[in-house]
Symmetry: C2
Subunit: 473 residues, 2 copies
């Protein structure tokens, strides 16, 4: 039965792949040669890599709404201007601000010992001196949801759910639910605080932070993530009997803090009002220096745009590089961009976003109108020599451009190999040394290639099939 299903799937897939809609569109020899040249040049990229090195060194961490994120905007605007972009500007907006002031989680009994922990973004502060209570452990968020109040009331909840390591990061969606919901689920049953096993995939004593809720500066209760080895330790202690833990989280919050999107453009020629948007986010979590998340993404899109800027002529459409602000704490930059540019979204021809580290791109998804699929195939064919597999037309886009995709802007998702991404994601270990320059440059090559094609060809990626009689097969 299983074999027959597979066979059917393959057959259907084969039909789809060989169907007329999947034939590549023609590309002029000149454009194709330029794409090959860009790919070649990307192999020597210094600008993109230097951008992320300099950003993470000269600015460091860039917590949304902080003084350091402001420095990052100023630094980027100066840098992008010096690089020679035609126009550079900052589009400011305000966000609710949350920052950790101090945090400590310790076993009080039976054997006093500190646990490596980090408050989650948006965690409520505890009273000064912290809260102390017996730990009640759950294997999953679902188990906590199902528990009676009597089991949780007055306790410190510990959700010990692990995250599955996958190439496409699909383990994250499931694992992150305990991060966003634990405080609310625990508090609603009278818990003093919540601890989660870090949403991450490495065996080191590194805690992974991240936002706990997307609706404001402060969430539903005190919540911290402990490292994997500390989760193991707490579980071993609980196997031996009752365990009391103290959780002390002190925070700083502000209602309105400055953030902003940094925008740099290469002005197009005869189609300059049409926009090809490539983005990343400039803010980072505060524990590392935001090299993989998402300094790398910014370096990749800046590097790709600069390769195109160095061509003898600007392409026809405008290439807009967007360094979004305040992504980590609730996609505030994405919302602000959509608000600011809502009236000309139809002029956004294509959007893409790099926000998954610096691992090599292994597949290329699109979300195009059905009649534009030949364009997808043309781009995918050109990327195959870089080790990129053509993929489906169900691209999500990315966190920051998702709002554009939902508004009908065609998007592509160059899918990176994220097998190791959640080893570093939101930890102190997200630093520049974790970027492999060769893998980074492959990303620059891919972005330069499809961005140039989109900007130079004049193709309409929204294109739908000619009207046919409905219901025919």
């Amino acid at each position: 039965m299983f074999k027959r299903m597979i066979a059917a799937g393959v057959a259907s897939c084969a039909v789809s792949l060989t169907g007329a809609a999947q034939e590549p569109a023609d590309l002029s020899l000149e454009i194709e040669r330029t794409v090959q040249f860009l790919i070649e040049q990307a192999g020597n990229d210094d600008i993109g890599l230097a951008f992320v090195e300099d950003l993470t060194t000269e600015v460091g961490q860039r917590l949304a709404g902080s003084e350091s994120e402001a420095r990052a905007r100023a630094w980027s605007a100066t840098e992008l201007t010096e690089l020679g972009f035609d126009e550079v500007r900052v589009e400011p907006f305000e966000i609710p601000f949350w920052s950790r002031k101090s945090e400590s989680v310790s076993v009080i009994s039976p054997s006093p010992q500190p646990l490596v922990a980090t408050a989650l973004g948006g965690s409520t502060a505890t009273p000064k001196g912290g809260v102390t209570g017996k730990v009640v452990r759950f294997e999953s968020l679902a188990e906590l949801r199902a528990a009676p109040i009597s089991k949780v009331d007055g306790k410190i909840v510990f959700i010990d759910e692990t995250m599955i390591k996958t190439m496409d990061g699909s383990g994250y969606g499931m694992a992150v639910r305990k991060r966003s919901q634990c405080a609310e689920a625990a508090s609603s049953k009278g818990a003093l605080a919540c601890l989660i096993r870090s949403v991450g995939t490495q065996p080191h004593r590194m805690p992974h932070t991240g936002i706990m809720a997307r609706d404001g500066a402060e969430g539903a209760g005190p919540v911290a993530a402990i490292s994997g080895p500390d989760a193991d330790q707490l579980t071993r202690l609980l196997e031996r009997g009752s365990v009391s833990v103290s959780v002390d989280i002190q925070t700083e919050i502000k209602t309105n803090a400055p953030s902003g999107n940094v925008i740099a453009e290469l002005r197009g020629t005869d189609l300059s009002d049409e926009i090809v948007l490539i983005g990343c986010h400039l803010d980072s979590w505060d524990l590392g220096t935001g090299a993989l998340d998402d300094g790398a993404g910014c370096g990749i899109v800046v590097g790709a745009a600069m390769l195109i800027a160095d061509l003898p002529e600007r392409p026809r459409r405008t290439i807009r590089v967007v360094l979004y602000g305040a992504e980590e704490v609730g996609l505030f930059g994405a919302t602000a961009y959509a608000r600011e540019h809502g009236d000309d979204l139809d002029k956004h021809i294509l959007a893409a976003e790099s926000d998954f580290g610096a691992g090599p791109i292994w597949r290329f998804q699109t979300r195009f109108g059905e009649a534009a699929l030949p364009y997808a195939r043309t781009i995918q064919n050109l990327l195959m020599p870089l080790g990129v597999t053509p993929d489906d037309n169900r691209a999500f886009g990315g966190p920051d451009i998702g709002i554009l995709a939902r508004a009908g802007v065609p998007v592509v998702t160059p899918g990176q190999n994220g097998m190791d991404y959640f080893d570093y994601h939101h930890t102190p270990d997200d630093t520049f040394d974790k970027i492999d320059p060769e893998e980074f440059r492959q990303n620059v090559a891919v972005y330069a290639a499809f961005t140039y094609i989109a900007a130079e060809t004049g193709w309409d990626f929204r294109k739908q099939p000619e009207i046919e009689a409905p219901g025919t097969e």
Copy 2:
């Protein structure tokens, strides 16, 4: 030339290996069978592994002189008594005590950012609020030593020397010199504080602590280790210009704090006053839970002794398991043991120590009298099926039994593969999950085998050749 030297070396080695002194001594079939049985049983060891799991879980870190080291002594004494050792006792002594209270190292300008750092054991405290100064970087301790006072005075010294990763840990000796000498070398030239690149070999943002001086609770100046990625970051910043850093280290010191050696014995039969000593150290650094350094060593020697304890009969000599106290901060347990037992060192037939993690043993060195080398060969032959290479007669012993070796007690060094040891050594990451149970059990097998042979055979490992006419060849 190089080839000829190699060839000569091999030839000389071959002579030595096949020389009369290297013929194995005879072992009774019964002892050999028991050794094989012990090796087989070690493959299922639960006691040794449980010892380190329980110690690191139920006690946690065990900083020398602290309340937690005291708990570790009480815990061990109870545990070893329950396991059925014939005699268990604590031999107390006092040590100077140093503990961190708080520590922070931050870049102040050009771009404020925290560095992941840990004070070294024995570091002087800074004034409250810390010291701030410009950083002066040196590639090595030697470069700092050679620098003029004018280059160092009023600055914060940064030694960026890296450590070489080797199987036998030989990279440590060189690298550790900057740890022990930086404060003194820097302070003597008027520096405000010293920072070193952590003495370690991993790429993560983990600082490695360790003692800076062995002569007391407090050293010659404030000194901290920063993680490898932070050392890279500081170097990148310095490449861009002047960098100011603030170092704030607050400590607690006591002149006399309690420590002690925990001793457990399997009483021998007809040679009960002769001692085969196998040791480890019970104290650890405070950042991790001291699983590899040196909970594993304690688990290995306890596990090995318990396999022998479970035999139908006790061996002829007494097996003494010594869990040394206060090793990390200056080998105080070793000194106390030598003081306490100085009068009967001649009754110490053999000593060995496990203090290099839980990696598999790959070679077996001895330090025996020349005429006892056949015993070495016998033991080595029995260990070869475990993947252990026979090695030379120049065993160092180990940190805690070095003092016995220097006093003439025969020692063996079962050399572990320490390629990854300095990835975890003295970091928060030294936790139980880093121990591979199979590799751990191979260690238990080796220790059980040679300990049993030494205890049961009655062999004299000090044995020297019969008197011959001197000068003959």
